[in-house]
Symmetry: C2
Subunit: 343 residues, 2 copies
Amino acid sequence: MKKGQVTITDLAKELNVSPSTISRALNNSPFISEERKKVIMDLAKKMNYSPNQLALSLLNKRTKILGVVVPEITSYYFSTAINGIQDKVGSSGYKLMISQSNESFEEEIRLMEAMALVRVDGFLISPSSNTTTFDHFEKIKSSGFPLVVFDRDCLGFEADKVVVDDYSGAFQAVEYLVKTGCKRIAHIGGAASLSTTQHRKMGYLDALAKNNVSIVDELIINGEDSSSESGVTCMLSLLNLEVIPDAVFCYNDAIAIGAMSVIRERGIQIPEEISLVGFDDEPYSSYFKPSLTSVWQPIYDLGLLSAKILLDNLMADNESSSYRYEVLKPELMIRESSKKLPI
Amino acid sequence: MKKGQVTITDLAKELNVSPSTISRALNNSPFISEERKKVIMDLAKKMNYSPNQLALSLLNKRTKILGVVVPEITSYYFSTAINGIQDKVGSSGYKLMISQSNESFEEEIRLMEAMALVRVDGFLISPSSNTTTFDHFEKIKSSGFPLVVFDRDCLGFEADKVVVDDYSGAFQAVEYLVKTGCKRIAHIGGAASLSTTQHRKMGYLDALAKNNVSIVDELIINGEDSSSESGVTCMLSLLNLEVIPDAVFCYNDAIAIGAMSVIRERGIQIPEEISLVGFDDEPYSSYFKPSLTSVWQPIYDLGLLSAKILLDNLMADNESSSYRYEVLKPELMIRESSKKLPI
DNA sequence: TTTGATTATGCAAACCTTTGCATAAGACTA
DNA sequence: TAGTCTTATGCAAAGGTTTGCATAATCAAA
C-alpha cells in the first residue's frame, strides 16, 4: 500500500464532482451521463487509478483471499495439489495465502488464526501429522469460515473433504504383488497418526487376507516419518530378519527409494529377489534404476476439486447442511521394480 | 470475514462506553482506569473479540502481507526457497501471498498487479524464463513497493537482488571433470533467456578455456526447457555424434536424470565411459544409481536472505538509494556419476 | 405559471479502528 | 467560592469505497 496511491477523492477533486459520482461512473451506473462517464474514465486511466481492495473488503466483508495450509510446501505431492488449487482459483479472481505447518499442530493453529484475522474468505487445509484433535477446525468453522479438508482425513470432524482412496491403491498394489508370486510381503508405513498411513496399511492387510497370504507381524514396520532416511532404517531392519521378505510395499516413494538403495547395497536383486512398490508416483520414480512401481494419485485433481468445492460454498451463501465427501481413485503404475504377471 | 464477527462497537454497547475507550483499554493506554481495563479485557476475551486487520490495514497503510511470485511451486528448488522465506518472515507476523507464473510473462504481470491491488507490503520475485523486459517491475517499484529479485537476475533492471553464483558452480564442476581426465565435455543448457542458463554456460566455457580443453560447438546443446524430457532428447542427439562425449555437464539435475536414463539404455557405463554432472542437488540425486554428482545450491538461504532484505527495507522507511546485490556460493557434491580425481 | 416527471448529482452512513482534541467530573488550592 | 489541575472519557475525523435517499436542475404537460 503506497503513499502516492491515487484515490477516488483525488479524481473527484480534479473534476470538481463528488466521490460518489466518480464511483458510479467507474462502475458504469446508468445514472451518470455518458459524457461525464467518459471524462471520468479517461482521467482514471490517465491518473492510473485503481480501487483500494482493502476498503472494498471492509465494505463487502470479503477479501477474495483463500487460506491454504499444507504440512510442507517442499514435497512434490503438496506443491502439485497447490498447483491444482491455484489453477482453479486464479480465474475467479481469488488470491492464495499459503503456509506450511511443518507437520506441527501448534503451527497449524497459529497459521489458521493469523489467516482468520486477515479475514480470508475460506480455508483449504491438509492437516499436519500431529493434528489429532480438531477444536481449532471447529472454531474456525463455527466462526463462519467455509473450510475444505483435503488429502488427509480427520476422523470425527465433519466438513467437506476430498481424499484419495488410499485403501484401494494399497489393495491394488499388494494384490498385484501376490499375483506375481510374492509370499512374504513386508510393509513400511508412514507417520502413525495419519489417515493415509492407516488406510494404506488396511489395504495391505486386506489384500493379504483376501488372497490367503498369512499376515506376519515382523514384516510390518511403522516408520518415524515418510522420508527416504526412514526407508533406509526400516529396510535395514527388514534385512536383518531371519527370513527376509520377497516384496516390500512402502508408504510412499521416498521410503521406497531409501529402501531401494539399501537393497542394492546388499547386492540383492530387484525384483528377482525382492519386489519393491512405492506410493505417490513422484516424477523421478520412473527414472530410477530399476524404475519404481508405484501408486499414482490424482493429486492435481485433488487440489482442483477441493478448490472447486470451496468456491461453490462461497457462491452459495446459504449454508448447506450436508457435507461433501469426495474420494478420488489412484492407479497402480507397474514398472521394473516389481515382477511381471504370469500369463 | 464473517457475519458474526464481534467488533469494538459491540463491546462498547455491551458496557455502555464509547468505542474509543474500548480501543484504548485493549491497547493498554495509560488514560484508562485499571479496573475498567480489566472489565473490558475480560469481556473482549469472553466475546472472542479480535481486531479487524482490514480496518487496521486501511488505517496504517500496510497489510503485513508479502507477495511472492515464482516460476513454479512444484519444483524442489523454488519450494525450498519459499521455505526459507516463510521461516524468515513468519516470526515478524508477515503473511505470504504466493503464486506461480508458470514461466509465463503475461501471468507474471497479472499476478503482480493483483497483488499490488491487495496492497501487499512488498514483493519477492523470481522472474519467469520469458520475462525479458522489466517495465512491470519498474512500475511496481515506482509505485513505491519494495521489491527483491531472487535466483534469476534481470540484466538492466536495478533492484535488490539475491542470486547464486552459477558461474562459479559450473566452473568448479567442469574443472573437476577436466581434472578427472575428461576431454570431450558436453553441455546441455536450460531455457535460453535465463540468467542462470547463461552464467552456467559461461562457467563451462571458461573452465574449458582455462584448462586448455578445446571448445567444440557440436557438444553444446541448448534444451527447450529444464525438464527430464529435455534431458532425454538432448542426450539422444549427443549420442548420435560421430564421436560421443566422455562427460556431460547438465544445466540441472532433472536434465541429468533424463540423460542418465538414455545413457544406461544404450549400455554405456557411467562414469567409466561418460561422466555426468547435474546442478541443484535435488534430494533424490544421491539415491540414483549411480548417485549423481551435482552442484548444491544454498537455495534455502537464498529465500532466507531475500526475505531478510525485504524486511530490512520495510523497517527502514527512508529509501536507500543503493541496491544490495548478494551472491551466494554453490558447492560441488561429488558422487558416483563422475570419476575420482587421480591422486 | 404551476405541477409532475425525469435526469443527474451530492450527502451521509456504513464497514472497523485509532487518536488528537475537547470536556466532564472530581479534587485540590488560594 | 471560585479557580486550577487531574483524570477519565467521549467526539469526530481519517482511511477509501459504495449506495440509499434526498435534492437540484431541466423540461414537458396542463
